[in-house]
Amino acid sequence: MSMYILSSDEISQLVTELQASYAVYGPQVEPQTRQVFFDLINDATALDLEAPIPSMPVKEILFPQMERILKYKYDAETQSVEMARQYFEQPKVLFGLRPCDLAGIQALDRFFLGQEFVDDVYLTHRRQCLLISNTCLHPFPQCFCVCTHSGPDADEGFDLDLTKLADGYLVKVGSEKGRALADAHNWTPAKPQQLSEQKAVVDKCIDLFPDMATDNKAWVSRVMNRITTGFIKSETWEYIGDQCLECGACSFVCPTCSCFNIEDAQTECGECERLRTRDSCSFEGYARMAGDHNPRQPVEDRRNKRFFCKLSYSQSKKYLRPGCVGCGRCQWVCPGDIGLPNVVQYIRREITGGEA
């Protein structure tokens, strides 16, 4: 793997240069609230590679909360229809992805593009997309990527990967596209000791994870085992389900949640648009069906569905990795108290019979 060392200025230049032919997205801090978003970059100086994990997952860009995918006009008089696709390709760069978000994109790639069918909407957004990841130097409060094999550094899936070292950013090339970009520049090759420095940075970051997170590492796989085999008491699910306020947030902020709803809505001029909006298995209406019964009615069954999706081997087969990438966002946004790390704790408590 070829490696280079770039100064902060060179990074900035690269951003500006990429802006000429791509829409460049990257982490930025909203000035009033200090909240971090992975948003379109207007001015290269707004990119903040040291900002904490973005509050919303980067999947927002590839799998928007709401989009119009089809527009049609039906003329009842002439009994004819005109249809037009509403999603379009745009070359873009995701600059400074946290490793967990990169892992999330890989999981979505495998789910949307790698199963029996290809999801054309996702593919269109995903095509011509350059992924530049950024190693975490220290964990943020809710992170537990060390338990889910998705951080604090990226080992695959990127075009370029950055790690901030003492004298600049170590840049790893991870793909042909990355290769081409490097070749087009006159970047300084990295020295071997800089690679060891990078390893040290990652090791230091791992050390900085709170005990709870590292301690959970072994537990995540034990819990996955339990969930896969279904050996979890219904009282535990009930305890979890009682805390769900059915807001959907956990799915909306999760880098790997992919569920959506489709609805045709009439526009004013008699046209119709097909809206694709994000959905969540926490909702009662999500799985409703005929015969007047909802196969997943009690809320605990629906929660059970979520954790099966995130933490079971069978679902992992679709993502070729656990469904959870350890970003901790669901813990942050849950008005109940059942973010994924907590659920691991509850199940852990069940396994140990209450002890730690």
């Binding site: 207007n42 809505a265 909006t277 959905d279 849950c334 008005p335």
Partner: protein
């Protein structure tokens, strides 16, 4: 540097006032993100808040002024519509009660204030009211008496610190989910959360202690808790507070003393010993938060009085983390009250519409929920009805002139949450149809009638309203834009330091049920989002959720306990005949729920014909909100 696509906003879909970001390019809203730094919502949103983008994308908007001609609404210019309204309104005499104003609890303070001016100065009328006000007016009156000002005591953020949290009634995780979530978090951090409700709501399940009392006895139980607290106080002289100096104390105490534990238990189903046990925790607590719902499904006055009295009696109300909060279902219910557009007792627009011989001939309406149009026939027979709203609604059918309004993110405006927190929402999307904000529309109508106001923007309006509204002095748009708003200042009220007990009456509520009508039917058990009917019906996912129950129970449902179902020999979804003691009747499906007590039954509010045919004849029941009880019989 501002971000390209994320703009701060305040959720406008209930009275919690959560912080959110809208993902927008300034023309359309694509999504929502929670706002982590917000002191109340702390990065959480409920299903409504998370789907604000769906509402803001609806095609069911009113986009231009319209005038009814030959029975049909036709597009009109602002000039024409405004001129028509101004001239028609001049033909009615406001002072004689010919003009009514129906204000909205969702309007911004700026719109509410200017609507008030329009009503009082231009139309010369005081016949006014806010949709959903009935319950809140009682909360305001009780709080004003107790604390000296009409508004919440304390802040919603106190939930995160208080030792003891009492939730009276209200299915809060459904109605104001983020407050519910904060209460749940408080419980987990070790606060004692006590709930009082006749059915086992989600917050009841998540509480430390739930008192599942018989219907109609919440106030009695709160009073009994006060009595038990007083009992501890008398024994423990050190903790004797000087609340006995407050006016009304001795009457209050005398009333409390008269509570008989036998009668209490018979009426409420709760043993006094259990309450005494609870009082010990209450006595220990240094900071206490009491929450109750206010608005359409609010409590009755005696219950609210019992609550405010108990709050004073704890003697903990000066603690920085104590609070008494009437939780509003609608975003600016509190602000609309502050702006002075609520009805005066005995002289409200609702009363005028309901009395057949009132003088009312014209009605000026802002943004009314389409689920419930009370007195529809009367309104239809009025000479002139003006309706303004951002979204299409059934009220348009009744209007002679219709005006569009911007959505809450299309104009600057301030909103006052349940705990008096005044927050500003900045315009972050341009209305594609160049629709005038409410205050500007009212200003133009006033101008057409010869009144010049001279506001250049919403900030101007705010400057003036801050000068004229007690508590708002010192606030401004500029200042509210820093941080997350500010509570209005109770000390602007001269009585804010003079606390008083409300007079109470101990009544052992006799269930109106009889052997012939053995079920106590209660309305308003909140089903998801009913109080946002008009708005939620314009979303996609929340509407689907809202309709869930309707799919399962297409004609609505009546919730009864499993035991009663066995006794009646009915199964879930079977149709039953429900007959009330005054003879109204409906056929409705049974929903069997382990969360309701035997002998009680619930129907949700949101099904139109249930309200109009079955409930509305019960004037009192409707007005009594959450505490109303109708005796019924249920037959297969």
């Amino acid at each position: 540097m501002q971000l390209m696509n994320y703009k701060t906003c305040v959720c406008n879909l209930c009275g919690t006032g959560c912080g959110q970001f809208l993902k927008t390019d300034g023309r359309q809203v694509f999504g929502v993100a929670p706002l982590i730094a917000h002191p109340v919502s702390k990065g959480k949103l409920c299903i409504r808040g998370w789907h604000a983008n769906e509402l803001l994308n609806t095609n069911e908007r009113i986009t231009q002024p319209m005038i009814r001609e030959n029975g049909q609404l036709r597009p009109a210019s602002y000039e024409e519509a405004i001129a028509l309204v101004a001239s028609r309104m001049q033909q009615f005499d406001g002072a004689k009660g010919e003009i009514g104003i129906l204000a909205s609890a969702r309007s911004s303070n700026e719109d509410g204030y200017t609507l008030g001016r329009l009503a009082h100065e231009v139309f010369g009328t005081r016949l006014q009211g806010i949709g959903a006000e009935a319950g809140h007016r009682k909360s305001m009156a009780s709080l004003e008496h107790a604390f000296g000002y009409p508004g919440a005591h304390g802040s919603l953020t106190s939930i995160d610190h208080a030792d003891y949290i009492l939730v009276v009634g209200t299915d809060i995780t459904r109605q104001n989910p983020i407050i519910g979530g904060n209460i749940h978090a408080a419980q987990r951090r070790g606060a004692r959360v006590v709930t009082l409700s006749s059915s086992r709501t989600q917050i009841a399940k998540l509480s430390t202690k739930h008192f599942q009392q018989k219907p109609g006895t919440k106030g009695l139980l709160v009073n009994a808790l006060a009595k038990a607290l007083l009992g501890i106080r008398t024994a423990n002289r050190e903790r004797k507070a000087n609340i006995d100096q407050m006016p009304g104390y001795s009457d209050y105490v005398a009333s409390l003393r008269s509570i008989s534990s036998v009668a209490l238990e018979r009426a409420s189903g709760i043993r006094y010993e259990e309450i005494e046990e609870e009082a010990k925790y209450l006595e220990q607590a240094k900071s206490i938060v009491i929450l109750f719902s206010s608005g359409i499904s609010g409590l009755d006055r005696p219950t609210i009085d019992a609550i405010t009295n108990l709050a004073l009696l704890t003697d903990r109300m000066d603690h920085e983390h104590s609070a008494v909060i009437p939780v509003a279902g609608i975003s600016n219910l509190q602000g609309s009250f502050d702006m002075g557009v609520s009805g005066e007792p005995g002289n409200s627009v609702f009363k005028a519409l309901a009395s057949p011989d009132s003088a009312i001939r014209a009605l000026f309406v802002i943004d009314h929920d389409d689920g419930i149009i009370r007195d529809r026939e009367r309104i239809a027979s009025l000479d002139f009805v003006v309706y303004s709203c951002a979204y299409k609604s059934a009220f348009m059918d009744l209007a002679h002139v219709v005006f569009p309004l911007p959505a809450f993110n299309e104009t600057d405006g301030t909103y006052t949450a349940s705990d008096r927190r005044v927050q500003i929402t900045r315009k972050n999307v341009d209305n594609p149809h160049k629709v005038l904000p409410g205050w500007a529309l009212f200003q133009k109508i006033a101008a057409a009638a010869g009144h010049q106001w001279g506001y250049a923007n919403a900030a101007d309006v705010f400057i003036e309203l801050a000068n004229n509204t007690p508590g708002y002095a010192g606030l401004s748009h500029q200042q509210l834009s820093q941080g997350f708003g500010q509570h209005w200042n109770p000390q602007a009220f001269p009585n804010s330091r003079r606390r008083k007990f409300n007079a109470i009456n101990i009544e052992y509520w006799e269930s109106p049920t009889t052997p012939e009508f053995p079920f106590a039917l209660m309305i308003g058990k909140a089903q998801h989002y009913w109080h946002q009917n008009n708005l939620m019906r314009k979303t996609i996912v929340p509407r689907r959720e809202y309709d869930q129950t309707l799919w399962l129970y297409p004609h609505g449902y009546i919730e009864i306990s499993p035991d009663d179902a066995t006794r009646l020999k009915v199964k879930d979804k079977w149709l039953v005949n429900v007959r009330s003691s005054i003879g109204t009747h409906m056929k409705i499906a049974v929903k069997i729920s382990p969360d309701v007590q035997s002998g009680t039954a619930y129907i949700p509010y949101f099904i139109k014909n249930m309200i109009s045919d079955f409930l509305l004849p019960y004037e009192n029941a409707y007005a009594a909100g959450e505490e109303s009880v109708i005796p019924i019989q249920i037959q297969e």
